[in-house]
Symmetry: D2
Subunit: 364 residues, 4 copies
């Protein structure tokens, strides 16, 4: 299935960085939902980053066209095909890269898999650009979720060892909006400034940094998810590792739980003010046995540093099967973590909506 | 699909802790493979732990019966149904647990999902016992992989903050065998002894600990995996989060990459002694863009501490919708990390074999 | 996926004719349904045929054991593993068949596919015996459907050119029960007697006959099914062609529609006595565009004559790659159509229940 | 999954008759195949029918644009998105149809399913127009198959009770080409003229006719297909019932087998001139137990008469829940069978290629 995921809500991503266009086919959306295209464009804009020193200079206007699936502004029940044209492709300097795979990019494994026939200009189908259609689809999912009082928000939890504040136990939608409105999506602006300084530091050294993004979903009912291999964690993880540069995924306190004792890691139950069952802490990230507990769903993703750096790197010549050196030209994002924040939200929104649409009659 | 995974090699797990039996249905195994049942029993034995203070006292002999799929000791091309009988089930003291969900177990979300109709005695289908059929299926996969010179090994990388030595860049099968032969599967026995002391400490405090397991697969060819959502990382992560208590998964250096600079995180290419393309380091865990590079595949899983602890815990009464206290009786593993090591290997072996069997004509 | 089907209700069939056992793994059943095992045994008995001249003499008692998924007589929400032991296997005379494929059985293609390693004794996994677990799973589905006022019935529509009466436009459950209670499941006993005579005729000539089975499902709501490739027709057809000997499937008037004019083939709408929308005729079998109309779902399956016949047949020796002759010994059903009737019902019931469980939020 | 099918080669169809465009997303094509766009256009032209009295007057030029997946004329290994713009949509007279479902169209079940929110103008996603992207995808599949000496051909086997000649036991590619070159794709032109006269007869009566199409695939190796529910028959049937108006599917002699005796229906084996195993007859259509035998794969599909006819028809008003009359205006195909011939070929080609790409290591 490769570039697609989802059970009832199926999202298939297509396109290459330097081809005619990119896009997504979204199957299974309920009919009759009025898509707010302005809000969608605004959401997609967050992925493109600002016109600042933190981001690359390639700035294509990512305008999603609905080829199908929307009639008079509303979803019509049929597959929604979104296309985003590629307008700003320059592939002049690609010949060297065909022979010399860039370290820690997909170039070499793609070369082996497709026998050199894949279109890897600009990263091809592996390019970060392919996250634009994920945001287009996920932006619609976010709107549908919001109409059901389910909200998705994320922030940069860490860059270069500098940590942001953590989400509160029960974040509200206003906090998510506040973070989303920032050019640099953190909770604590003080921490954010230190992170940005670290990014600029790396940039001036011709280097790059990674980061950790934490995402939270509120309003999902308890009892969603299937046991063992189709739980909420399994589904989210499968999709999150499809976002370029993600190398780790954890739920709740994740790897930190591994160093705790059970008495500290367990989330005791309580009855909340509204008379509902809740947990006093949420170290398990709102998921037990793969099934939602009704607490906010919390997870984090580790983003590796941008592999395109200015320094000369060791590689090989595929034609000569000899060691070679490679210098990657052009401007590159010294950090993509801030731009990945809405992508993580989009992925989460799509998984949540799929989960809701896949709900069935679990008991008589 | 819930309790099943795999594309060409499909593994479906069934059973409840206190029902008649547990097992797995394995579809897609190539015909004609001679299953070494002694080796399989030995592998499954690793999951059961020794008769020592580190493990629970329930010791059922997990004997896999082949209901179908094997004829005269060889796979016959048809679905392989493995059944393991439950012989040692005591469910006398379950009534309290029906009403009071154990913190950080699946009890409460399962109660909501199945309206109280799920058989949750002993954890039901969520019990760690369900990893026995995963090991039965995975043990066969390991044998098939070994016949193709592909080897899978794992060790406890960390318990209670105590770290084991790391795998070398290119571990050999002998090292995997050596670790597997140990009652406590670590590389450094000195580190292992400290870990065991920490487990016994927690045990005497009526508490529990978690840990991190690192797994390595050698011999997988480059070019395997599909882009975006069906890469090696996506498939492994989806299955690993199906193992009870896993709360985090990372590939290569994973979360540590998030704090590195690109110049330190990138894996430069080289030509190895045999004339093949390799990388000098393997911080990406043998996977780029979801596709194998030909380097060992390396990943880690975070195991949360056993949620069953001796201390009195806060919970709620589901019938009264009131706060309640819960004391969990009986003996429980103070740490399951050491028993989860072969389970992680089994899961990895199944994903690897599925990947190999799903290989198609990628280019003309 | 091979021997499995279903979206939310997933049925995986396993076993070989001469192995230890056969069975089915059923995932996705709602929890809490009380299984009527007596009714289930009675339903499965219909597949085994009577002790008469129409059926083979091999009469194993097909007793389904629930390894998992049922607790105290009720489904428990977890995968239901059904096993039926094989007790009456005689494989003494199989050696000749290994080398000489029986015409119109799966022997030869199975030999090519699995390189001679498949266990084809008695037909192996292709044996008609594998329809027993389909009936076990489908019998439970029928019970759940009946609790929702959805009923499934079938009859022999034709054998050896002799046609039964057709179902009325709106058959009721009593008619289904009446047919099901007959040893030879037809509507018109007069037609049935002629059919039985034709079967015995073929039998005394050492030959066999096929037939056509028509099945009807009442009570399914309108609006179920997905467009294009996942409609009701697509799903039913996929499963029906999995029943051994089925070589044709048609909906409503099917192939007869191809010879009608539109004015005769169209089903005009009306408002029925209860004020609901209905059609005056049902030549489209209750399905338009793959989606249910609310009218009874009607389809037919063509069953080819039993390929095992007494006459000497031309085949080849696989070892010698030379023409050879084959005489198939033992007793064989001169007609399996009557025994296939409950199998068709079982398959239909499973698809219907899956369809109901897969229903999602189609519109806002 | 709805509008998508395929295991390794996945085809997802999108679009509505009166929306912006229609198309297909094709995942899993091998990289490096040079697409012959002229041949593709010629193949797609067959679906559009000639400018004659047999077909409707709406004649949009169906020009497939490759948004992704093709670089410099070759497949590039990544998902291939094909878009065909809708240029000739007139939806002025749709308001009456919104309220009065056309008999034997999908209007009413679609209304129920999507609560009136589906875009059903011109049939929406159920329109025969959606077979254009199937032909675009299938046309490419045909080219890839031809490069492997696998050929797909079809003819009109019957219209209005008038039968064409049958395919010979082993048709060659030249015969397929000859039929494909005809405006009215039959083997016997004499039969074809009678059929056309019957179509024009129906047309002058304001009525329509259906027909039967028989398709044949040569060159597929033996041993392809999976047991029970994923065999060649299951996969083909599932896709064929996705083509609008198909109401029956049979393999080999299909329903006619149901009236034969086993001695007449069995296909005896022989060794052919080239020393390969073959069958002397092919009444099973090259498939046994769902697996290919190496003989040509032969199947037929029943096409119901075009439901849009000139005569006044009984329907209901959905707003008033009252009986109503409907007159369908505009010009409509009096028969779509001839235009469906390349669609059937396209569907078959896609299933064949998928089968080849899904081949795995069946035995050690």
């Amino acid at each position: 299935m490769a570039s697609a995921f989802g059970e009832h809500l199926r999202v298939s991503v297509y396109g290459e960085s330097h081809g005619n266009g990119i896009g997504a086919l979204v199957e299974g959306l309920p009919a009759g939902f009025p898509v707010d295209t302005d809000a969608l464009m605004q959401f997609m804009q967050r992925r493109q980053g600002g016109n600042n020193a933190l981001s690359t200079s390639r700035k294509e206007p990512d305008i999603p066209e609905f080829v199908s699936g929307v009639t008079e502004g509303r979803t019509n029940g049929f597959p929604l095909c979104i296309t985003i044209k590629n307008t700003n492709t320059r592939s002049g300097d690609y010949s060297e890269l065909r022979d010399k795979p860039r370290p820690s990019h997909a170039d070499y494994p793609a070369f082996v898999k497709w026998g050199g026939m894949a279109d890897m200009r600009g990263g091809g189908h592996f390019s970060g650009r392919l996250t634009a259609p994920v945001c287009a689809a996920g932006g619609i999912a976010k709107q549908i979720l919001a109409s059901k009082n389910i909200f998705v928000g994320a922030h940069i939890a860490r860059i270069a060892g500098i940590a942001d504040e953590a989400f509160p136990l029960q974040p509200d939608a206003a906090l998510f909006d506040e973070i989303a409105a920032k050019a640099f999506p953190v909770i604590s602006d003080a921490a954010g400034e230190k992170m940005q300084a670290a990014i600029l530091d790396a940039r001036s050294a011709g280097d790059s940094v990674g980061g950790v993004i934490t995402c939270c979903v509120t309003g999902m009912p308890a009892g969603l998810g299937d046991p063992m291999f189709d739980g909420m964690e399994n589904r989210l993880a499968r999709v999150l590792f499809g976002i370029p540069a993600v190398k780790g995924v954890e739920f709740g306190d994740g790897f930190a739980l591994a160093d705790m004792r059970g008495s500290a890691a367990n989330d005791p139950y309580c009855v909340d003010a509204a008379g509902n069952i809740a947990t006093k802490t949420n170290r398990n990230g709102g998921i037990l046995g793969g099934i939602t507990t009704g607490m906010p769903i919390v997870f984090s993703a580790a983003i590796k540093p941008t592999p395109s750096i200015a320094a000369k790197q060791d590689t090989v010549s595929l034609s000569a099967m000899q060691p070679a050196e490679l210098e990657i030209h052009g401007r590159h994002d010294p950090c993509i973590t801030q731009r990945a924040v809405p992508v993580i939200e989009a992925a989460a929104a799509l998984v949540m909506l799929d989960m809701l649409l896949s709900r069935t009659e679990d008991h008589i």
